[in-house]
């Protein structure tokens, strides 16, 4: 049963592309056939983050405008079996394709792949509408910041209006020490406002910056907590129940006492 999942957020820079690359990679490592599609036409990044930019010959606009077949534009990942990328066009913009065309493309890929993951651009205009057109499910990415949560809330409203119900949430770049000091929103605050199911919490991790710059998804780095988080998210997407990572450092007795009295 093939699934099309769109990874969206509203706000830019919260980790959609990074999540798409790592979740796609983790799913392929679990033996699934995965194609990731970059829907950010004009500002493509997914190819860079996966280290496949010099292998691009055709892109998603070429497929839709009939200059090539989907198979020709698809780039097989250099490290991982079962993982393919359809890059975006860099010289066009988001009006180059329509939602119907995206929907058709996704439908045509369903026969060959277990998971089709769409990297949605930031914003709520045509780019967003195109990206969600073919999706069965959505994952909303947010960081623990008021502005990101505000935009995520808007996006969830728009997803529901487009009949994509029950999106799931990834909270990215959580800094547990800041949360404990009360300087950063905690998970409960975020879920209180957004009111959707949590599918993963990815802690802030320097390894991510290193990996995206190198063009190597982080999931194979066993020392990275973020990698472990993405692996768990991929498992949950496949229906497995996985416990959330223990991110707390020592909760001191004073800390517990403060919690009881509602102090920070």
């Amino acid at each position: 049963m093939s699934k099309v999942i769109v990874i969206t957020s509203g706000k830019g820079g919260v980790g959609k592309t990074t999540s798409t690359a790592n979740i796609g990679t983790a799913l392929s490592l679990d033996g699934k056939k995965v194609v990731v599609i970059d829907a950010d036409i004009g500002l493509r990044n997914l190819d860079v983050v996966m280290g496949l930019e010099n292998r691009i010959v055709y892109d998603v606009v070429d497929i839709i405008e009939g200059r090539c077949k989907a198979r020709q534009a698809m780039i097989k990942d250099k490290r991982y079996e079962n993982l393919y990328l359809i890059p975006a066009a860099q010289t066009r913009d988001k009006d180059a394709i329509t939602p119907e065309q995206m929907k058709e493309l996704c439908a045509s890929l369903k026969t060959d792949f277990d998971y089709i993951i769409i990297d949605c651009p930031a914003g709520i205009e045509n780019g967003f509408k195109n990206a969600i057109a073919g999706a069965d499910e959505a994952i909303v990415v947010t960081t623990p910041e008021v502005s990101a949560v505000r935009d995520a809330d808007r996006i969830i409203g728009l997803l529901e209006a487009s009949e994509i119900y029950n999106p799931r949430l990834i909270i990215n770049r959580l800094k547990i020490d800041m949360v404990q000091r009360g300087d950063m929103m905690n998970i409960d605050d975020i879920i209180d406002i957004l009111a959707i199911d949590l599918i993963g919490v990815v802690p802030d991790d320097e390894n991510i910056v290193i990996s995206t710059n190198k063009g190597e998804p982080v999931v194979e780095n066993s020392k990275s907590l973020a990698a472990q988080a993405y692996i768990n998210i991929a498992k949950r997407i496949q229906g497995e129940e996985v416990g959330f990572l223990e991110l707390n450092t020592q909760v001191t007795f004073l800390g517990k006492l403060k919690n009881i009295f509602g102090l920070k």
């Binding site: 935009d151 809330d153 808007r154 969830i156 409203g157 009111a195």
Partner: protein, 222 residues
């Protein structure tokens, strides 16, 4: 004329004491009565903050005179209710004067919304609005009548939108970005004023938007 002693009442609210004066009395009698009440209970009122004087019969000038007298003679502190500090800009009235509705909000139709209202959503209704869920920041409710949120009000709510000064906004957790009733606007104070969340109701009193604990206010309205 009633007993002056019993007609002067100190009412405690979240932001400080309100002095209620029921009935019509000579201003000097009132001044000396209040002064004597304060001095005979000096320990109790030490450090207390007062937010104002409510009177059916005394006009604004008279109440201000009393306030100044109390400030001088009894050295008590009158503070502005945090909501008063901020803009009570009267918005430009684009509606013609005769369209102003009297307080008939109780008879207006009511719209029930049974979901959480997300950011970017906008509800505009000729009547009252009741939300069985939260109103998230970035969402906006505009009602000609009252607004009740059985959840957290974190967005913008505008009650009495056509000029009904008797409209109110009530919520289980009242933490809006901006609150508007009729032509008045208020924004919440900078710091979190209370640790516990309790149902609260906002309404217009003496030309400012006032917020009180729901339990206390409903008792007055009975």
């Amino acid at each position: 004329m009633g007993n002056l002693n019993e007609s002067i009442e100190f009412k405690g609210t979240k932001n400080g004491f309100l002095i209620n004066i029921k009935g019509n009395f000579d201003i000097n009698a009132v001044k000396s009565e209040i002064t004597s009440k304060l001095s005979s209970n000096i320990e109790f009122f030490k450090g207390a903050k007062f937010i104002g004087i409510n009177s059916d019969h005394l006009d604004k000038e008279s109440t201000e005179e009393i306030i100044n007298h109390l400030k001088d003679k009894c050295a008590i502190e009158f503070v502005d209710i945090p909501h008063r500090k901020v803009s009570h800009t009267k918005k430009e009235k684009t509606v013609a004067k005769d369209e102003k509705e009297k307080s008939i909000s109780e008879d207006l139709p009511t719209k029930f919304v049974k979901t959480t209202i997300r950011s970017g959503s906008f509800i505009d209704y000729e009547g009252n609005i009741v939300v069985l869920g939260d109103v998230n920041p970035g969402a906006q409710l505009i009602a000609t009548g009252n607004i009740v949120v059985m959840g957290a009000l974190r967005g913008i709510a505008h009650a009495g939108a056509k000029g009904d000064n008797n409209a109110f906004v009530a919520a289980n957790k009242l933490s809006p970005i901006q609150l508007r009733i009729s032509d008045f606007i208020a924004i919440p104070p900078e710091e979190e004023t209370s640790l516990k969340t309790e149902p609260q109701i906002a309404f217009i009193s003496e030309n400012i938007i006032v917020i009180e604990s729901y339990q206390t206010r409903v008792k007055i309205m009975e």
